[in-house]
Symmetry: C2
Subunit: 379 residues, 2 copies
């Protein structure tokens, strides 16, 4: 503990989020230790010390806690119970394990939102085939069957449009507890990154649009191209949601904008989030620095856009095999284009290998250039 | 070699400059190896691999070269002869060892500038007491006696105002080869960071004012508060100077602005430089990313100011002893204030422990806030 300067941050998970948290923590004077299932994690490559163990390894979690002053996470699919015990032993854990526990269970998460009067898609628990058939009928013939736990980037979601599709879906999910959500014919997906300090202060980043393909985020547009009323409403709902959460840190609120202009909360992420990577170049305080500030009791930083527009595109792996990176020179030949590679190898289809952020005078220009930049890269 | 993604950068020296180069290199897909005389260098703390050896250790330099694709430096006081040999064996070394050799010898450097018609203070070689007395007379009774080699941050400079001060100065310098420079009663010190690509393209960063105290840089003001004619002249001279240099990378040109509005080149630094730290927050491409781009043959990035004003203040150690950092929370409570700690321990009087950059709508506001921020910190 103690660290080289200001203290030591412990992160459960050492992927790209842990890496960017580490890059932000070091200049503020923190040491970083990550717990990661494989060695030479993206975070370790930028100077985080590393405990190599399964994220559910109770001993490894205790060992991590012992070595650090502040404990946090880069992934919500982990052993929240153990984190809760560590918190009770006096170790600061943020976000609160109680919040992580609720968010881990998407059905519980939805109940929490509903109870607070926050608009969401209709949902219901599903215990078996009969529940599912009833839900499909109640939701007008189109719904998502979802695993309650452990799913992200669309893994663990099935779109159901007729009862005959249910058998295959139940086989796919196996024994996982499930719930169903009414299908929302949204026109846009929106997100707001926000931070809560240890004293309960909340700051919101700008509203962004997220664009998904095959359930994976591929593009983020800041600010979201929506009208003023929609933006105001989405930010208000995000703030209401933030007030339900316990503990400090950055959270992301993912939302749907419906055809009728209604905003529904889709999901809460209790951590720094892909929808907030643009904040590195486009705001005074990146979401990563903000999270480090929040969990260590430092004051929160400013969150306004410092450029007219920013667009982030993910760099997803294009094939399976050893890394053969090509085209970096063509990407960097484009002005105001910022490359962030995560140091992952091998490359895998749809694996998040890095991202590119472009700033510009308009969203249109930023988007065009970001797509061009992405097209130059082979990975 | 090869690196995790794009290749491996080797840096001779792993101090704060090597650290910030590493922080910039990693997201572009490079691995980094540094050669540093002590373990756990500032660069190693952010993920550079480390060879611990003296910077003049020929075997260690060869070992470094063998492990990397691109070799560079963060300090010019090193074994340029060995670098030249490595370059001849086919390893890309930037900046060119030939340029480093000339810059290492401040007298040679001055001759190079004079030969090219670039204005400098008058200077002359000094071999013994008689030369010094003659120089003092020729320079109007006030001069700097300087060591030709191995001096920076004012170490190795003596101001001489009367012949009776020479004996003590000669004792101080011992056997070091010396030269003398006319004392320039400057009104400001200026600097320009610039980059040369492997193809000889040159880009200039904005002109800045550097403020020194006890011969150490304490403050950098961007843009320099000078009139248009002075700025134009200084940038022109910096560009002329850049054209004399060989090899790729970032260089800094330090200059004097005299009472009469003349600009004289004081010194060339063949590397990223303290006067350019503000580029991290205030330009689209930091000098560190720019250097990595330049030495690896990638296209250079934009260098214009993206904010009206930026001020950098150095965080110099205030005492000798183990690090006890205090006041980080007060620094971060100030908006648009960016803290960069270097991970050094112990603290030492006048040791460069970190820096703070503040951006603002005016130089006056940035300067005021930067001073306030620095005053909050104890180190």
């Amino acid at each position: 503990m103690g660290g080289m300067n200001g203290g030591t941050i412990g992160i459960v998970g050492g992927g790209q989020l842990g890496r960017m948290l580490t890059l932000a923590a070091k200049p503020l004077g923190f040491d970083v230790v990550v717990l990661n299932p494989t060695p030479n994690s993206p975070a370790a490559q930028v100077g985080a010390k590393e405990i190599v163990a399964d994220l559910y390894d109770t001993d490894a979690l205790a060992q991590l806690a012992e070595r650090v002053d502040f404990l946090t996470i880069e992934i919500e699919h982990l052993d929240a119970g153990t984190l809760e015990k560590l918190e009770k032993l006096g170790k600061p854990v943020n976000p609160s394990p109680a919040t992580i526990k609720i968010i881990q269970d998407k059905l519980l998460q939805k109940h929490l939102l509903k109870l607070a009067g926050i608009p969401t898609a209709d949902f219901t628990e599903v215990n078996g085939h009969d529940d599912a058939v009833a839900a499909l009928k109640a939701f007008g013939g189109k719904m998502l069957l979802k695993s309650r736990h452990g799913a992200y980037d669309g893994r663990g979601n099935r779109l159901i449009a007729k009862p005959s599709e249910l058998a295959e879906a139940f086989e796919y999910f196996g024994d996982s507890p499930l719930y169903a959500e009414a299908y929302v014919p949204f026109v846009k997906e929106l997100a707001v990154d926000l931070a809560r300090s240890t004293t309960g202060e909340i700051v919101l980043y700008p509203l962004v649009e997220t664009v998904h393909k095959n359930n994976i985020c591929v593009e983020v547009l800041a600010p979201a191209p929506v009208n003023g009323r929609e933006a105001k409403n989405a930010l208000k709902i995000a703030e209401q949601t933030a007030k339900l959460l316990k503990g400090a840190g950055v959270f992301a609120i993912e939302m749907f904008l419906t055809k009728g202009g209604k905003v529904l909360v889709n999901e809460i992420a209790p951590r720094v989030h892909n929808s907030g990577h643009y904040t590195i170049e486009a705001t005074p305080t990146s979401q990563f620095e903000q999270h480090i500030r929040a969990i260590s009791g430092l004051p929160l930083g400013k969150t306004d856009l410092t450029v007219p527009a920013a667009v982030m595109v993910n760099i997803l792996g294009e094939r399976d095999g050893p890394l053969e990176l090509m085209g970096v020179e063509d990407v960097l030949a484009l002005s105001d284009t910022h490359l962030h590679l995560y140091g992952k190898s091998p490359t895998k289809k749809a694996r998040k290998m890095g991202h590119i952020t472009v700033t510009a005078n308009s969203l249109h220009k930023a988007r065009k250039k970001a797509k061009k930049a992405r097209s130059k890269l082979n990975i």
